[in-house]
């Protein structure tokens, strides 16, 4: 027995593989190894790293039975050597050294081919129809009720001698909903300038405020009324969600706007603001891609632009051929997506009966690669 214990030597990890983590921004090295033959008694594995293949230090102690580690504390272009130490009580054994290895950033994520191909198709279709529109081809876009009401709402406010309140929501300038909202603001501001109706725009984000000021200023210029532009009506309120809601509520009950536009990304404050708007009798036109807030807008506003309708708003309102072309391109993209869905559903169904199973797997895998 004594001889057996004396002769026992812990088996090391084998086949250590170290490589630059693929499809990343660099700064990471991936290490994987085969478990020790004595894995059942191994208490832990230690990952040892060296920058000169002489001095090694433990950088991580993965759990027992684990065989991989992502070292995210490395510098791009620098050489590193690694080895794995299996530990069982006081006994330990080290694997062979692997290295040198360098980390680097990749320009292209090789598991996102599907996103690239789809983006090219979607953008290509949009560009194609924009070119067609530029050539003068007439493009039809169906009536969108909420957008038709924009001019009516501005007119109503003017007749009542009340201001218009435009709420951009809680998102930042990089959000697509905010960008779409700016287009609607441009139309509303132009109409308001033509009728000399005050337009109030309380903002949640300072950069959005700057963009709103520029948009409204431009709209006043286009309306031929630069003298009526009042920058103080487009102001920063606060970047706190409920502080913003409290402030907008205060404006609604004190200024009693005739029309309220709620266009952008909204969260829990959506109902608070729209309910207050309804309580003062303002005509309310809302629009948001936030699925959780749309039900509240549908319940409390006169018109609601549901998701995509809001994005289509800028093209619809401006009626510019170039912008209409982009909507047309989007529409055909949706058709392609529906056809792809149909093919996928068909393949998933018939593969149940053993038909075209290989084709179905490849087709579905292409869309599910991550």
């Amino acid at each position: 027995m004594f001889v057996l214990i004396f002769l026992f030597h812990l088996s090391p990890s084998h086949n250590v593989k170290v490589f630059d983590t693929p499809n990343d921004k660099g700064g990471a090295v991936y290490i994987e190894w085969e478990l020790s033959a004595d894995d059942s008694i191994v208490s832990c594995y230690e990952v040892l790293r060296s920058e000169n293949n002489v001095d090694y230090s433990v950088i991580a102690t993965p759990l027992p039975h684990s065989n991989r580690f992502d070292d995210t504390d490395v510098k791009n272009g620098k050489s590193y050597w690694y080895k794995i130490r299996a530990v069982a009580g006081t006994d330990s054994s080290e694997s062979a050294v692997f290295g040198p290895v360098h980390s680097s950033a990749q320009w292209f994520h090789h598991k996102r081919w599907n996103a690239l191909v789809l983006s090219i198709i979607l953008c290509g279709l949009a560009l194609w129809y924009i070119m067609e529109a530029k050539k003068g081809k007439p493009l039809f876009i169906r009536r969108i009720a909420g957008l038709e009401a924009v001019d009516d709402a501005v007119g109503r406010s003017t007749e009542m001698g009340k201001p218009i309140l435009y709420v951009m929501g809680l998102s930042i300038m990089g959000d697509i909903a905010t960008i779409a909202s700016l287009s609607i603001l441009s139309r509303v501001a132009k109409r308001a300038a033509m009728h000399n109706t005050p337009l109030i725009v309380p903002c949640y984000d300072p950069i959005v405020m700057a963009a709103c000021q520029e948009t409204v200023k431009q709209a006043h210029l286009e309306a031929g009324r630069p003298d009526t532009y009042d920058e103080s009506k487009i102001f920063f309120l606060t970047s706190d969600q409920f502080g913003y809601a409290a402030g907008v509520d205060g404006i609604i009950v004190r200024d009693k706007p005739g029309a309220i536009f709620l266009q952008g990304t909204f969260y829990a404050e959506a109902l608070i603001i729209s309910e207050t708007g309804a309580s003062v009798g303002a005509i309310q036109i809302s629009g948001t891609p936030a699925i959780t807030q749309l039900p509240f807008f549908v319940a409390s506003c006169d018109y609601t632009l549901i998701g995509e309708e809001m994005f289509a708003a800028s093209s619809y309102l401006s009626r510019e051929p170039v912008m209409l072309g982009s909507i047309k391109g989007e529409d055909y993209s949706k058709l392609i997506i529906m056809i792809v869905m149909g093919i996928g559903i068909l393949l998933a169904t018939i593969s149940q009966f053993g038909l075209l199973r290989g084709v179905a797997e490849k087709f579905i895998d292409w869309f599910t690669m991550v």
Binding site: G247, D249, L335
Partner: protein, 209 residues
């Protein structure tokens, strides 16, 4: 100090609740304190969690490309601040244009990868699941719902003729989804209200344990 904090919080809570009756000086007071303090807090927050660690500290600790690339966002920030100088305020449009362009560009990729592809993938289900009619019905609702709701957002054709019925089904399913979401969110909001009332009755008045 803790007791004073509780009393101030309870007073301001009641001030905000007083809006349920009508606009009044107490609500105005709470509203202005809230907006002022939150704006000031966000200013400090942005400095200590964005500007300092991501610009100032990073500029001090980084070397080479990582250091000098920080000049671009710094310049854009300075350009944005030029709005306060009316004569050259127009330059701030460059920074705004950059932000909008960046948002649109990222929006295309994240939209395709984060929304379009997962939605397509989720629809790849068999219409008939042998021996499991419940799952077959579930898949049928999923497929019909996705396709008809997508068709509702097709703007190139009037909602007439052959596509009228599928579009009606699509918008009906959207409204059913909104109804379910409405009920679910109202429940969540009620729990927030209960939390506030619990604060008043427990922390402030000690009426409930």
């Amino acid at each position: 100090m803790y007791i004073i904090g509780i009393w101030i919080a309870a007073f301001l809570t009641l001030c905000i609740f007083s809006f349920l009756y009508k606009d009044n000086p107490f609500y105005k007071l709470a509203e202005h304190i809230y907006i002022g303090s939150s704006a000031a807090y966000m200013f400090i927050y942005v400095y200590f969690f964005d500007v300092k660690p991501m610009l100032i500290d990073k500029f001090r600790t980084s070397v080479g490309f990582d250091k000098w690339i920080l000049i671009i966002p710094s310049l854009l920030g300075i350009i944005m601040l030029l709005r306060v100088v009316p004569r050259i305020g127009w330059i701030s449009r460059w920074a705004i244009a950059f932000t909008i362009g960046l948002g649109s560009g990222i929006g295309i990729v994240t939209g395709v990868h984060g929304f379009v592809l997962p939605q397509i993938k989720a629809t790849f289900v068999p219409l008939i699941v042998m021996g499991n009619w419940m799952e077959s019905i579930n898949n049928l609702v999923l497929i019909v719902g996705t396709l008809t709701a997508t068709l509702y957002f097709y703007f190139s054709k009037e909602h007439k003729g052959a596509i009228r019925l599928p579009i009606r089904i699509g918008i009906s399913l959207i409204m059913v989804a909104f109804g379910a979401s409405f009920g679910y969110t109202v429940m969540a909001r009620l729990s927030l209200l209960i939390g506030r009332i619990y604060f008043l009755l427990h922390d402030w008045l000690h009426l409930v344990k």
